[in-house]
């Protein structure tokens, strides 16, 4: 009995010890502040989302609002919807969220509307016309389709590929699909066939093997669009190993220090960034303006596409180091 009670007390203490320090921080926040939630479909420690989060935090400090930034442990639409439902229960002043799957968000967004909680979509959203789309105020983020087109146009400005390819590393992600479609449409307009690769890049070794296999069996492919940093990183390595750096023109999406270095050395032609710092910063800023004055912009607020290539990479590099890009 003694052992049991000791153990039970130990368990309770451990649990409390695990929870209370964090709780202390949460409850210490000023109660008068507006509470704004941010919810994304990926982990906030991902370098991409870390920059977005910095934007959120900087704006939250500037506008003196309480920020509660949430992300799923792994890429998960279901997990994000569950987080959204929990955020609704807290009755916040507003929610800023990505919408990677419009059908999955239909019901929770309608509940938010019914509860009078304003929602701003960021980063990825329902691209259908307003009368058909899921209910949210407006969108802040890149235009993914235009981004894909710009990537293709940049490649076409330096060469006419014999055959092209586009690698989507998170199949089913509507934003990545739109990037790929923009690329493919633009290539087709130029009369160039473009294949779409859909293997995941979360295991770089396996992904590298798959890409090697593809490039070996498709020797005519001399232009590749990697729709995000993970496939860009793998593609840089694979092209180097195959001795095809420069022969296969590589262009990518988003920005990491590795991509910046690759642009400087010429192994990457360029990258399309969506300036996700702005998505975080403007998300909070526009939500505050909406809550205070009811401002709603006339349409989507585009933070991209913005091309980074050899011409402007030096300027951008300092911003990457400072965590703004």
């Amino acid at each position: 009995m003694k052992i049991s009670l000791t153990l039970l007390s130990a368990c309770a203490t451990l649990l409390a010890a695990a929870l209370l320090p964090v709780g202390g921080v949460a409850t210490a926040a000023a109660k008068d502040k507006l509470v704004i939630y941010s919810i994304v479909h990926g982990t906030l420690s991902d370098p991409f989302w870390a920059v977005y989060r910095k934007g959120l935090q900087d704006a939250a400090s500037a506008y003196d609002v309480e920020l509660r930034a949430l992300g799923t442990e792994v890429h998960s639409v279901q997990g994000e919807v569950d987080l959204f439902n929990s955020a609704l229960a807290a009755k916040p002043a507003g929610i800023i969220t990505t919408i990677p799957d419009a059908a999955a968000f239909q019901e929770p967004l309608e509940r938010a509307k019914a509860a009078g909680i304003p929602v701003i979509a960021i980063n990825v959203t329902d691209s259908r016309p307003k009368p058909e789309r899921v209910p949210y105020l407006f969108y802040i983020g890149g235009d993914e389709y235009l981004g894909g087109q710009e990537a293709a146009q940049k490649v076409l400005s330096v060469k006419k590929p014999v055959e092209a390819a586009c690698w989507i590393h998170e199949p089913g992600h509507t934003g990545l699909e739109a990037r790929a479609k923009g690329w493919t449409d633009e290539m087709q307009k130029a009369g160039i066939k473009s294949d779409t690769l859909t293997f995941r890049a979360n295991n770089p070794t396996e992904a590298a093997g798959a890409l090697k296999g593809f490039l070996t069996s498709h020797p005519n492919v001399d232009a590749l669009f990697a729709v995000g940093p993970p496939p860009a990183s793998v593609a840089l390595e694979v092209l180097n190993e195959l001795g095809k750096t420069g022969k296969v023109t590589l262009i990518s999406f988003d920005l990491t220090p590795e991509q910046v270095d690759a642009i400087r050395t010429g192994s990457l032609l360029g990258t399309i960034e969506q300036q996700q710092y702005l998505q975080g910063y403007l998300g909070i800023e526009f939500m505050k303006l909406y809550l205070d004055h009811g401002f709603v912009p006339g349409g989507s607020v585009l933070t991209g596409p913005n091309l980074v290539d050899k011409a402007n990479v030096a300027t951008i590099q300092a911003q990457v180091a400072a965590g703004f890009r």
Binding site: A18, D82, A89, G172
Partner: protein, 321 residues
Amino acid sequence: MTFIRLLLARLETGALLSALAVAGIFALWTSSFLSLESITSILIVTSELAILAIAVTLLMIAGEFDLSVGSVLGLSSVAVPLMMVNYRVAPLAAVVIAFAIAIGIGFLHGTLVRRLRIPSFIVTLGGLLFWRGIVFVVTQGFPVKVPRGNGALFDVFSYRFTNGFDVSLLWLIVWFVAFYVLLTQTQFGNWIYASGANERAARAMGVPVDRVRTILFVLTSVSAGMAGLIQVGRFGSVDATRGQGLELEVIAASVIGGTSLSGGVGSVGGTVLGCLIIGMIRNGLAIAGISSYWYTAIIGLLIVVAVLVNKSTEHFRKAAG
């Protein structure tokens, strides 16, 4: 004193105390935790998880594992809209076929374990990878949407009323009652405990251990199919990663609820409480705006604590018979 002894003799006590502790901490932490919106959100997460975890618990009591449940959930849920879109299969027929697929997979796993004497850990690990691979192959990784105008049938599996409650809670009640009765009120239930506690003795006493386990593999797969259909109803679409990682979460819920990894010990009520704890922690952390990494850390802690509590109260259960 006798009351405390009786309480400690119950397998669910550890999970119940943990559930109360978690609820208490979050209720003190944030007032929104006890709101109707919050409670209904917790119940949605709990229902989907528990329908699957209850069946996994029975399998674990019988001395086997099923690591493939997340992939089976993914396959059976993706099969429904895929058949409707690609082959114009009627919604009801697609649902029936999805359950048939689940039954087939469960039977296959059970048969492989029984006939080839391969440990269930290996067979279902293979199943986890194989069925997930099939999901990626048939979808090419892209999400599949339920065609418009087919909502009515799927509302039977999941529909959230204006007060926040979801139909899935009713399915959890059905699953709970059915599995509770099966485990505690029938001869089959006795066979489940006997198969996991001492397989050799059970066989000597005439318990059809292989048949019991095969039936439980089938029930586990059917439960995975059910959880998958609830998610089809809830989201109106299925992505290729649906159910990924769920296998460990349901085992965690079972262990937190008092189920032994070595078989012979476990309860349906304890597992539902384990799922409720997981639902409360997920929801409570999100309401408080705390990173989901804390969730992973706390669940890890709870698993170890649950095993310690169950170990330390074992002699009370033995004394109580």
